[in-house]
Amino acid sequence: MSPVAPIVAVRASGVDMFFGTPENQVVALKQADFEARRGELIMLVGPSGCGKTTLLSVIAGTLTPQAGTVEVFGQRLDGLGQEELTAFRRKHLGFVFQSFNLIPTLTVVENVMVPLLIQGLANDEAHARAKAMLDQVGLKGREDDRPDGLSGGQQQRVAIARALVHEPPLLICDEPTSALDKDTGAHIMQLVRDLSRSPERCVVVVTHDHRIFRFSDRIAEMEDGRISRVFDDPKLLDASHL
């Protein structure tokens, strides 16, 4: 019998994050505690400015908090240098952004190859894997198009392919549907759910969009820089709550 893998994928405890000068301070996170489990898709919701993106950045290691500890898949992020954090993201993280962030001068398949090439994969192999990933998000035949020739939903599919092509254990999505219409948003979330769900992977989705709450396993609600409530059954949280 293999040992049971620890259930926790991401744990942030007592995280403080301030911006600005001491006289003119913005508190983005204040004693925030957050936990996400392996195998789940957890959503992070809350009013604008409550610190959702900041928390995501702290988990991703692109922001270093002033206080608290962050642990991602058993790896403590505090104490890691820039290089180590970069290497950590390269291996463990996939990103989906609100504004897609696809490189417009590269083709669709080239965009998806990026995480693999950063990891040092050979061009041919990266190309083959990126192509296969694009098949999975339903973009067969569009490999050599430029992103701006695609619809918003298609561009976000490319972004999902790019986020998952290197099979990262942690997928981070910041407002993945807010630039898309309702149906497209639902399709995208369905895709994220279908492709990313695996017993070992954890997906954290920041969203304002209550129409996609149903795709989550749990929902963490944020308020004033900290997690205020966690709903274990998203059906209990209807839109009127927020």
Binding site: T53, E83, R89, R90, L93, S99, N101, I103, T105
Partner: protein, 396 residues
């Protein structure tokens, strides 16, 4: 990743075009201006190329080849008696007015060479024979000069001839007839006039009035005596100045008359300054346009570079990407610019004998400078990207 870096650059055609224009323009300006500069500077010592001898002896006050201070004819004997001299021949050079058949005057470079040895005779005759210079009233004119003077002449029928002078044509120097018995190929001189070769004694006649006509002495060392050695001996024995005649700019020795002429013009004229300004201008324009364009390319892609950083690309990879982008633009810009410089030079060559010498060294220097511009651009971009926060990708 590096192929993608290139695709990123080539994907933005407009920006790429701007970038290449800047780089090509500065490469063009630098290569073209330096080539013209070296072309003009090489004209200053043209006599050294056209009149070939191992050693030139001049008055001790002479600083460069275009400024002869006449010697006494007896100096020839003194030089001949120096140990190690195989032979020494007189040379006359002066600028005189030649009168064309239509009455027009043209300033020419008159070269009088020793009729016995023909020392200093032109290397290539396209028409006639050098020996015919021994006939009375004869001269040999260079091809380009013949064309120039021909345009001014009239034919036997009194009509403008509009074609080069040729063997058999005549003109006058100081009312003395000069009959062309040969056409030679020589390099054009700084002073612009045609080269007219004749014998030393006849040159004396053409320049009546001149008290001294011995401008230089051309000397050949005996076997086993090096030119430099012999120069020393001549100077010690006669108090005159002796020069070597190497004309290859990258290897000429300190005693080379061509070299001293080059540097005389370098220090005594505004030529290096004006061309140096143009070359510097090319460099600055290149840095300004290319640096600016590359910087705006980086700015435009900043959020993507930030995304790359978020996705785990270290600054090492990103720096290499930017270097590859800048250097490939530099290489292409260099090729375009130097190609254009060559094409312009070619057109100039077809139009006549231009001051255009594109030494390989010029290409190398331009290459290095253009890559330097690319390097500066890349470093500016790298600094910019290194300052951007990976967390910035989450913001809008």
């Amino acid at each position: 990743m590096y192929r993608l870096a290139l695709n990123m650059l080539f994907g933005d055609r407009a920006k790429l075009a701007m970038l290449l224009c800047g780089l090509a323009f500065s490469a063009l300006l630098m290569a073209q201006q330096s080539s013209v500069f070296f072309g003009i500077m090489s004209w200053t010592y043209t006599p050294m190329v056209n009149i070939r001898a191992q050693i030139w002896v001049s008055d001790s006050m002479v600083e460069q080849v275009n400024d002869a201070k006449p010697l006494r004819d007896t100096d020839l004997g003194r030089v001949r008696s120096v140990d190690g001299v195989a032979w020494a021949a007189p040379l006359h050079t002066s600028f005189v007015q030649a009168r064309m058949q239509d009455g027009n005057f043209k300033l020419i470079t008159l070269v009088g060479i020793d009729a016995d040895t023909f020392a200093g005779a032109p290397a290539v005759l396209t028409q006639g024979r050098i020996e015919d210079l021994r006939l009375p009233d004869t001269v040999i004119v260079d091809e380009w000069g013949a064309a120039l003077m021909g345009r001014m002449g009239v034919g036997p029928d009194g009509q403008p001839r509009n074609q080069p002078l040729t063997v058999g044509d005549t003109f006058e120097i100081n009312d003395i007839q000069a009959r062309i018995v040969g056409i030679c190929k020589v390099r054009r001189a700084f002073t612009g006039g045609p080269f007219v070769y004749t014998t030393y004694d006849r040159a004396k006649g053409y320049t009546l009035g001149a008290r001294r006509t011995l401008s230089f002495m051309l000397v050949e060392p005996q076997k086993g005596v090096t030119p430099i050695e012999l120069c020393d001996r001549i100077e010690r024995a006669t108090g005159l100045k002796a020069w070597t005649s190497d004309t290859v700019i990258w290897s000429w020795g300190e005693r080379s008359l061509a070299r001293n002429t080059f540097w005389w013009f370098w220090t005594n004229t505004g030529i290096p300054f004006s061309f140096g300004t143009a070359v510097l201008l090319g460099l600055f324009v290149g840095i300004a346009i290319s640096g600016q364009t590359f910087y705006s390319f980086v700015l435009e892609n900043l959020k993507y570079f930030a995304a790359l950083k978020a996705m785990g690309a270290g600054m090492g990879i990103i720096a290499r990407m930017l270097f590859i982008q800048a250097f490939s633009a530099g290489l292409i810009g260099f090729g375009l610019g130097v190609g254009m410089a060559q094409a312009i030079g070619r057109v100039m060559i077809e139009k006549g004998m231009p001051p255009f010498v594109m030494y390989p060294q010029i290409l190398w220097a331009t290459f290095v400078l253009v890559l330097g511009i690319s390097f500066v651009s890349a470093v500016i971009g790298i600094i910019k990207v290194s300052r951007v926060d990976a967390a910035a990708v989450f913001r809008g």
